[in-house]
């Protein structure tokens, strides 16, 4: 466990996010445009952690929907904040460029050009264990102490470990979305009059992939097939509208081995 906790705050423009025990070096103008690197690294590792959690939920017996929704909302919050301060775009571009193994090595090398402490954090073999996180935090704090002018560069935004880079999760068809996603082309998806916050982001290719996993509409198919009308009027309507071969054929499995296969195919095909 941490001996000192770290409080995360929304970065208001003009307000520097606080880390515990640190009165904060006074750099108002820098704070307005540039977040402290330790904050952005912590935020990034939180994002990575969340994405892994979402991915792991595929392997469980049956994912806990409440937990998945809460984690997904957290990811969305981080993404919103990063979009607001412009780092989201930079990150996804950097990660897209780092898709090929060779590029990943480049990213690592760039990390190495920083101080040893940061590189160590980047090379940490187990970045998502508590110990790894602790090391990551502490080493970053050491680095940033005297380095107020450090800008948020591409390298400092790189994830802690190349193997577990966000690239795998955000870009490409790697489906890490929670299993509740429904792909049901039979249902009439009427255009919602007010674009929800989610739909804005789902235009972003990265998030589209994130949430593109399938919650089989065979949830409802199940009820129809077993022939037990044990549902209310709305359930029945739903199952009727979703019934059909499309539901089955368009569904992709939540299982990670098939996802791996898709991912590999995409790389080979080079899309």
């Amino acid at each position: 466990m941490f001996t000192k906790g770290t409080k995360r705050k929304f970065s208001d423009p003009g307000e520097e996010p606080a880390s515990s025990g640190d009165p904060g070096p006074a750099a108002p103008s820098a704070a307005a445009r540039t977040l402290s690197s330790s904050y952005s690294l912590q935020r990034q590792s939180l994002l990575d952690m969340s994405l892994i959690k979402l991915q792991l939920c595929h392997m469980l017996v049956e994912p806990n929907l409440c937990r998945s929704v809460l984690i997904a909302n957290t990811v969305r919050q981080i993404q919103e904040e990063m979009t607001q301060d412009g780092t989201w775009h930079i990150m996804t571009q950097a990660l897209a460029a780092a898709q090929c193994p060779a590029d990943r090595l480049v990213a690592t090398e760039v990390l190495c050009r920083q101080t040893d402490a940061a590189a160590q954090a980047g090379q940490s073999p187990k970045p998502f264990s508590v110990v790894g996180l602790q090391e990551g935090y502490h080493s970053e704090e050491v680095v940033m102490e005297g380095d107020v002018e450090t800008e948020v560069t591409m390298s400092s935004l790189s994830p802690l470990s190349p193997q577990l880079s966000s690239a795998s999760y955000l870009t490409g068809p790697f489906e890490v979305g929670p299993c509740w996603e429904e792909e049901d082309e039979e249902e009439d998806h009427s255009e919602s009059s007010e674009p929800s916050l989610m739909s804005e982001h789902s235009r972003h290719p990265a998030l589209e992939e994130l949430f593109s996993d399938v919650d089989p509409s065979y949830y409802d198919l199940d009820t129809v097939l077993t022939g037990t009308p044990k549902m209310g009027p709305y359930d029945l309507l739903e199952s009727l509208s979703s019934h059909g071969p499309t539901a089955l054929s368009s569904s992709s499995s939540c299982r990670s081995d098939l996802n791996e296969l898709d991912h590999i195919m995409e790389i080979i095909v080079g899309s």
Binding site: F2, E62, N64, C66, V69, E181, L221, M231
Partner: protein, 450 residues
């Protein structure tokens, strides 16, 4: 407020160890982990459900004349396998047999009835006693074999003979196939004829007699699942008004619905939400605001909600904020990142009222549980542990040190065992007797009668 039978209403409770049920082994079998605890309406019976799908019912024995200062003990009354693991072939997923909730029905005759549910199926169980047996049938032998009718030469009247008390549990109704998502709550209505069951996205209303049909009364499933940002976390019927129920959400809101208003209660009658404190906003704000339990007071005038760090009491007539807020373990606020990482932040703690609604109780980590006296505003932290399990030993208050200097007998936040979580507690409806589930052990504590 303070009945004659109840001890002082102030925090002059003196909780003493009474009993502990369950294996002492350090190695806990997963199936033995208790997943729900519930007293019946009289408090005579105490039911537990576990991850292995079993229900164990304890019965309060009469007080013995020799030791009048002890209220009687709870001993095993009945044990049965309520749910079995199932396999959903279409989704290739297992349906856990873990008992999520048990709710008793009010007693109407000699038998006892309870509802037990796992993720998908609710069952109505009848628990009845048999202490007589008929002997001397004409058409069958004592061992049940049919007798040849031609061999019967005389008729006799069967006689009822006493036998050792046998408690039988039989499933009377099975309410299945109505929930696509995981059932988190069941609640018996005050009309004693209907009950509701809630899963992540829907709430259904059942009649206890009818198993092949239920009414869907709440449906928050979005047309496009990509838009899903909120789920139902708990639901309960009002204790007196059979048309009113509430349900809580993962965003920290509670909706009160009136079934007279519409068949589908998607529009609430009341909406309870406390405005967020902007100074404590973090990426974890939403997660810790998610409500894990909601319980009406016995009076029906208040309701209590449990979120990750606090318990809140709401007046049903005031929607914009709770009337009381109690911090359960505020020292965890600075540890939220670690608790997110090890998934503890998703633990669902329950809460309960005492019989007179003057005190509330909820669990925490390290086998600690907390009690709050609503009148005196005093609170106490107690521990359910084998060490303090000497008969009639008074429980010592525990304290978690938050500052730098740790006093003697205090425990530091970093030493807390997050695997020892008390998620389920229950308070006797009439007396100061509490049941606390600590993983695979059930502790029963009593207040010393003054």
């Amino acid at each position: 407020l303070c009945g004659a039978k109840l001890s002082n209403c102030g925090n002059d409770f003196q909780w003493c160890f009474s009993q502990v049920k369950g294996a002492i082994d350090e190695d806990v079998a997963e199936a033995d982990i208790i997943s729900t605890v519930e007293f019946n309406y009289s408090g005579e019976l105490l039911a537990t459900g576990d991850k292995g799908g079993r229900v164990v019912i304890f019965q309060h024995e009469q007080e013995s004349k020799n030791r009048p200062h002890l209220r009687g003990e709870y001993n095993v009354y009945s044990t049965f396998q309520s749910h079995e693991p199932e396999f959903d072939y279409l989704k290739s997923l297992e349906i856990e047999e873990k008992i999520n909730k048990i709710r008793w029905l009010p007693q109407q005759n000699a038998a006892h009835f309870l509802l037990s549910t796992n993720d998908k199926t609710i069952k109505l169980w009848k628990i009845s006693e048999r202490d007589k047996r008929a002997e001397g049938y004409n058409l069958k032998d004592e061992d049940g074999r049919l007798r040849d009718p031609f061999r019967i030469t005389s008729l006799r009247v069967p006689v009822l003979m006493p036998m050792d008390l046998m408690v039988e549990a039989s499933p009377r109704r099975i309410f299945a196939n109505a929930h696509t998502y995981h059932i988190n709550s069941i609640s018996v209505n005050s009309d004693h004829e209907t009950y509701l069951s809630a899963d992540d996205l829907r709430i259904n209303l059942w009649h206890l007699e009818i198993t092949d049909r239920s009414f869907n009364i709440v449906d928050i499933k979005p047309a496009n699942m990509e838009e899903l940002t909120e789920v139902i976390t708990a639901a309960e019927c009002h204790p007196h008004q059979c048309n009113v129920f509430v349900y809580s959400s993962s965003k920290g809101t509670i909706r009160l619905c009136d079934m007279r208003a519409a068949a589908l209660c998607d529009r609430h009658s009341k909406f309870f939400e406390e405005p967020e404190d902007p100074s404590s906003r973090s990426f974890f704000s939403e997660i810790i605001s998610s409500i894990s339990d909601v319980k009406f007071s016995h009076s029906g005038r208040y309701m209590m909600t449990r979120d990750y760090l606090s318990v809140k009491v709401w007046d049903l007539n005031m929607e914009n904020r709770p009337v009381e807020t109690y911090q359960v373990h505020e020292y965890l606020r600075s540890k939220l990142c670690s608790l997110y990482e090890n998934d503890c932040i998703f633990d669902k703690f329950e809460c309960c009222w005492n019989g007179s609604d003057s005190a509330i109780m909820t669990g925490s980590y390290n086998n600690f549980f907390r009690m709050f006296d609503r009148n005196t505003r005093r609170d106490i932290t107690l521990e359910a542990s084998r060490e303090s399990s000497k008969p009639r030993a008074t429980l010592k208050p525990r304290k978690v040190s938050t500052g730098g200097k740790r006093k003697k007998d205090e425990i530091s936040v970093d030493s807390l065992d997050f695997n020892k979580k008390i998620l389920h507690t229950a308070w006797h409806p009439k007396e100061n007797v509490i049941a606390v589930a600590a993983t695979n052990n059930l502790y029963i504590f009593q207040d010393k009668i003054n």
